[in-house]
């Protein structure tokens, strides 16, 4: 379908790179509902995995599987070395000052809960302020609500404008008596990339710490700790082409050292008596029990895969594809894209007059199009936008302009169908 309103983009320079990338992802050959090629546009929910990651997982289990850190045998040493090599990889990828600053968790959600407990329970006092934004994912909202209830701290929000960008006009005022600012780097609903560096500088000037939810930005290789200068940062492996079951918490070493441990168990102790225990050094203090060993090793492979990409090319391609998709979608009558931030990623949420997201998603699925419908774990934001559910198409590096075209065609067909039957 050629759409007259669409910007003219010449994709041909990018094409060989993207085609080569796609060949690394076995699932992209999948057919669904019989013979429909899969068009996966649900990447903000979870990303697909390249062969490099699957091979590392499989190799670990068939060659080196053992528990880590405590064994003096060949397998245990191989497993420990691979596990700790992932920590080094992640630390250097993020620009962390030290591997000790990297704690492996189950995902973004656990990482944020860890800080809310280990830091919040210890250091927050009644009346202290926790500042989030109106565009947070539930995982960066509920842990702070629960912490506020536990400690008597007060939860406050940085508002979001109609364009879907943060309204920082009252920030300095809001920062008074704020101890922790926790904000998303990139919104999973609006696509907005927030000016984290600016918020961090102003928060630090008020003596507040900043946690960055990088669940959506890390997959696009947008995290440089030296630039962001935040105190904590969290992301999930599964959204950046890594396995499920693993995520990362970065924390400034001196903060991690001052915090209480979160989970108690094996690995995180130094000396244990019947009544008492002393804690291991960071980061082990926060890694209780057998960690997600294969998953951490797989995450290392995913990060190395990301590191191997030429991001000058991929950032330009992603931007172009996002702009193209927004323009194509907005050419559809009755369709509104939510989120007009100039700096934004490929999570594109929209609503269509008289067409509920669930119905739309269900019809599109029949064409092989995997998109998301619902509250996207951001109920307060969605309600504020005047909806109870939205439809979201979210793009990743391997998506193609034809896939965007197929989405637009699909939406038009569903609209026609509803029109025809409803008369």
């Amino acid at each position: 379908m050629s759409n007259p309103a669409s910007p003219m983009v010449d994709w041909s320079d990018w094409r060989p790179t993207i085609d080569a990338l796609r060949r690394e992802f076995p699932i992209l050959d999948r057919k669904v509902h019989g013979d429909k090629p899969l068009i996966y546009l649900d990447n903000a929910a979870t990303a697909q995995k390249p062969k490099a990651v699957l091979e590392v997982l499989n190799r670990f289990y068939t060659e080196s599987n053992a528990n880590v850190h405590r064994g003096i045998h060949c397998l245990a040493e191989e497993a420990t070395e691979a596990y700790e090599a992932s920590r080094k990889t992640v630390a250097s990828w993020l620009g962390a000052p030290s591997e000790k600053a990297i704690v492996f968790t189950r995902g973004t959600t656990e990482a944020i809960n860890l800080v809310a407990h280990g830091w919040g329970n210890k250091f927050l006092k009644p009346g202290d302020r926790i500042l989030v934004t109106e565009m947070e994912h539930h995982s960066n909202l509920i842990p702070w609500q629960m912490l506020a209830r536990r400690t008597g701290a007060v939860l406050d929000w940085i508002p979001v404008t109609g364009d879907g960008v943060l309204d920082l006009s009252r920030l300095d005022e809001q920062l008074a008596s704020t101890r922790m600012v926790s904000l998303t780097h990139m919104s999973n609903v609006l696509g907005t990339v927030n000016p984290v560096r600016d918020v961090v500088a102003r928060a630090h000037a008020h003596g507040a710490l900043v946690l960055v939810d990088a669940a959506q930005s890390a997959p696009h290789s947008l995290v440089d700790l030296n630039e962001l200068d935040c105190d904590f940062l969290a992301f999930s492996g599964h959204k950046l082409m890594g396995p499920t079951g693993v995520g990362v918490l970065y924390g400034r070493p001196e903060l991690l050292e001052a915090m209480d441990p979160f989970l108690g168990g094996g690995e995180m102790i130094s000396k244990v008596t019947w009544q008492d225990a002393t804690w291991a050094d960071i980061p082990y203090k926060f890694e209780a029990g057998t960690p997600p060993i294969a998953e951490v090793i797989g995450l290392g492979a995913a990060v190395r895969f990301l590191q191997s990409l030429d991001w000058k090319v991929f950032h330009a391609y992603s931007d172009a594809l996002t702009r193209y998709a927004i323009a194509q979608l907005e050419s559809i009558d009755g369709l509104v894209v939510h989120g007009k931030a100039p700096d934004r990623g490929g999570a594109i949420s929209f609503s269509i007059r008289d067409l509920h997201p669930h119905d739309l998603a269900h019809f599109l699925d029949q064409d092989g199009l995997a998109i998301r419908a619902g509250h996207m774990c951001a109920q307060p934001l969605i309600h504020q936008l005047g909806h109870s559910a939205l439809t979201r198409a979210s793009l990743y590096l391997y998506n193609l302009p034809e896939e965007v075209d197929a989405l637009v065609r699909g939406i038009l067909r569903v609209k026609e169908f509803f029109h025809r039957v409803l008369g």
Binding site: P357, D359, H362, G374, A389, F417, V421, L422
Partner: protein
């Protein structure tokens, strides 16, 4: 599109013109239920006089299937006795879970929901109102 079998005129008509619908506040509603998958909210108001459901009002911010299913429930169960309602509710739930259940004749227009069986992700949409009424009738027994 195979989905046409589910999204028939009758269903979409109830979506466009839901019966027994009006804005209901949480306070007025007998039950408020949510579809955990999507956050859609459904308010239902029931009045039972003796054994008979005399009023069944609803408001739903949801998809076509949820809205139509709620509307069709309101239409088909208003004025029915508790026993009749339970019979029909079970019939509808069985139809969606297993395809079996009470006969076509009794189901009438509700037969359209047979198609949901093939779409596990939509079962909650189609059954949300019915399960809420079922729970309410069961709790009612204790009074």
């Amino acid at each position: 599109m195979f989905l046409d079998d589910l999204y028939q005129k009758i269903l979409l008509d109830h979506y466009q013109h839901p019966r027994h619908f009006r804005e209901l506040t949480d306070q007025e509603a007998s039950v408020v239920v949510e579809n955990p998958a999507c956050g859609d909210r459904l308010r239902l108001r029931f009045v039972l006089e003796g054994e008979r459901i005399t009023t069944l009002e609803a408001h739903c911010e949801g998809c076509a299937i949820c809205t139509a299913s709620t509307s069709m429930m309101a239409e088909s169960l208003t004025g029915k006795t508790r026993a009749e309602a339970n019979h029909k509710i079970q019939g509808l739930l069985d139809l969606i879970e297993t395809g079996a259940g009470i006969g076509d004749e009794e189901l009438g227009d509700l037969k359209v929901f047979e198609g949901v069986q093939a779409y596990p992700g939509r079962k909650t949409c189609a059954t949300l109102a019915w399960k809420a009424l079922k729970d309410w009738l069961e709790k009612g027994k204790e009074d």
